[in-house]
């Protein structure tokens, strides 16, 4: 997302978008890049990923969504027991859950759940999902959280095919 796009989102509709530099002589964007970011983006920077990994994740999600027409999302955090039910609950909260694919990773519990909606399931069979889950789990076991998610998304998207 560019600076202009984020400003257009954060400022109210109808009025001219405020710049990140509200007044002359304020901090520059290089000194305080937080000025252009949403609270979610700042939260994400505190996470386990570097900026480069976050950018690659963003790119992977966008490409997967565009190519397949499904909605891919990745949740990384603790899941309540039973993990499968909790992951399905999260999946139901997505808009258009039938065509959504949720990859839920819980590093503390060492659990990985891939949930495909009823429509997405026709494109990504459970066997394909299991194949992606195996390669993701292999990467996670080596400590590569971002790489595992990236390769999993790539496999799921290529199994789903183009829309």
């Amino acid at each position: 997302m560019t600076v202009g796009e984020s400003q257009a989102l954060t400022s109210g509709t109808g009025e001219q978008p405020l710049t990140a530099l509200h007044h002359a002589g304020g901090p520059t964007l290089t000194a305080e890049p937080e000025l252009t970011m949403s609270p979610e983006a700042i939260d994400a920077l505190d996470g386990p990923f570097t900026t480069r990994q976050l950018l690659r994740l963003d790119e992977a999600l966008r490409v997967a969504d565009q190519q397949t027409g499904l909605t891919f999302s990745v949740y990384i955090g603790d899941l309540e027991e039973p993990t499968r039910e909790h992951a399905e609950q999260l999946h139901r909260r997505l808009d258009g859950a039938a065509a959504a694919v949720l990859v839920a990773v819980s590093p503390n519990q060492r659990v990985l759940e891939i949930i495909t909606g009823s429509d997405a399931r026709k494109r990504i069979s459970d066997r394909d999902a299991k194949l992606a889950a195996l390669s993701m789990a292999a990467a996670f076991a080596g400590g590569d959280l971002a790489g595992g998610v990236l390769s999993g998304l790539d496999q799921l998207a290529s199994h789903a095919g183009r829309h």
Partner: protein, 95 residues
Amino acid sequence: MSIFSTILVFAGIPLGIILVVAALVASGSSRTRPARRYRPGRPYDFRPIWFLASPAQVTPALAGKAAPALEAGIIEDSSGAQVRPGPTGGASDRW
């Protein structure tokens, strides 16, 4: 060469170099942020994050705040019978 200058050259200079290198090593490790990496077996104490290509599609405020009531949980048809959502698929794994 006197004993003094011998000691100065063969002990003083190496010692000085060692001290300089040690000082550089100690001062270079002042990283404020801890190692932000997941390692299997170590505790993972980051806040939950949810990535989505367009974040407007998910109900906001997962991190920190209470989860909102699930709206899509129970759907009823005209006769009042519960309509279950289509079956979800997928896979699970552990590592």
